[in-house]
Amino acid sequence: MDTSGYRFSKTHEWVSGPSGKVRVGITEHAQSQLGDVIFVELPQPGAEVSAGGKFGVIESVKAASDLYAPASGKVTAVNEKLAQNPELVNNDPYGDGWMIELELSEPASAELLEEAAYLEYASSL
């Protein structure tokens, strides 16, 4: 998956671009920490999310974690495949493991990290 345009939050979510119609998911680091994903609780299309706000819950064998929106906007689509195949989040977190599609209401914050900076951050934890 070409992640070159992606932006990353320090809470380990990614957004596929800084503006317009984008996808959101969790990072490779996050899926590795979580272990096998069992359930992903996601909002309905039409819901509004705001940057830094909780948009769902991800439950793995180990624990449940809140999901935080990296940017603000309206949910236009939800990855229906995750209900039957939550392991997509583990196996392809940047591609088929995407969670929601957003129409951003404003450009993503400049504080989000580019990939190299995020990888450095994640490896320092």
């Binding site: 272990g35 096998d36 069992i38 359930f39 609780e41 439950e59 064998v61 449940a64 392991e87 583990n90």
Partner: protein, 361 residues
Amino acid sequence: MSPDPQRTPLYDRHVEAGAQMVEFGGWSMPLQYTSMREEHLAVRNDCGVFDVSHMGEVHLTGPGALEALERAVTNRVADLAPGQARYTLICDEAGGIIDDALVYRPAEDIFTVVVNAGPRPKDVAHLREVIGGACDMVDITDQVALVAVQGPRALELLQPMASIELAPIGYYHFAEGELNGLKATFSRTGYTGEDGFELFVDSENAVAVWDAVVSAGARPCGLGARDTLRLEAGMRLSGQDIDETTNPLEAGLGWAVKLDKGDFVGREVLLRVKADGPARAFIGLLPEGRAIARHGNAITDAGAPAGEVTSGTYGFTVGRAVATGYVDAGHRQSESYQVVVRDQPVNAQRVPLPFYRRPRD
């Protein structure tokens, strides 16, 4: 400051294989290699292999061994035939569970007690105190490695490498032989609910045995899958489901307690518990929907506090969350309860254990 975790002879193999390592019971062990789901399903459908060398082995020998051991454990051991093993509890004077264990009897005056890694120091102290000088007692944990080969294909996978016929070894029985020329005790036991063999080998041969089993097609599996497998199979985890604050009768393990066999540590208290009825009951629960109940979650009965979850996870074979825990005697008759998961009560049906039983031919 706690000491560095101990390493089994197979540590390097786990790290080389890319396993995520965790500390468990004072040992550095593989949590998972690829995915708990894949490892769990490999054991249910094919063949998996676990390094369980962190478990403890205590060797008792001499004419006084039988009588001494009978006083130290709750189950009867006098009628164990050579080549037979039996599950038992090790209790303290208050009837609390120090550990659960398997007692092996290779010969009339020889016993090996296999205990869990974390409680091993307490087990050894208890055994020393009860046994005293009645027989020779040696903790042989460091000389022994234990490799558990589990799954419907375990026997088929091991037989070509084994010097003895494995099929005639019955469940909870064991036999000495060789695996690829290396001395091994083949024990038809396990902690997964599947068929399989636990191989006791000398520590210096552990790597060779592991490599042989993996090359033959067994999938390395970690403690994560071990936990989801054993919970589906309704097995207790020492230190989590059973400990010094629980007695065997309330834990549903009365079948491993022989109150009529003569005196043993904890017997007096357990006789009273039996007469009065246990104060709690260990139950199985199936939470509804998408909630996974976990250790420490409250159990309520029509909203009233009733108990607590001791183990909970997602059962990859049953395809839903599974949980076990204790409810107070006054609430033991209900058919359904609620488990409080992240402050939300979730309905949970009470079911008899195990959650999963392997298909029998």
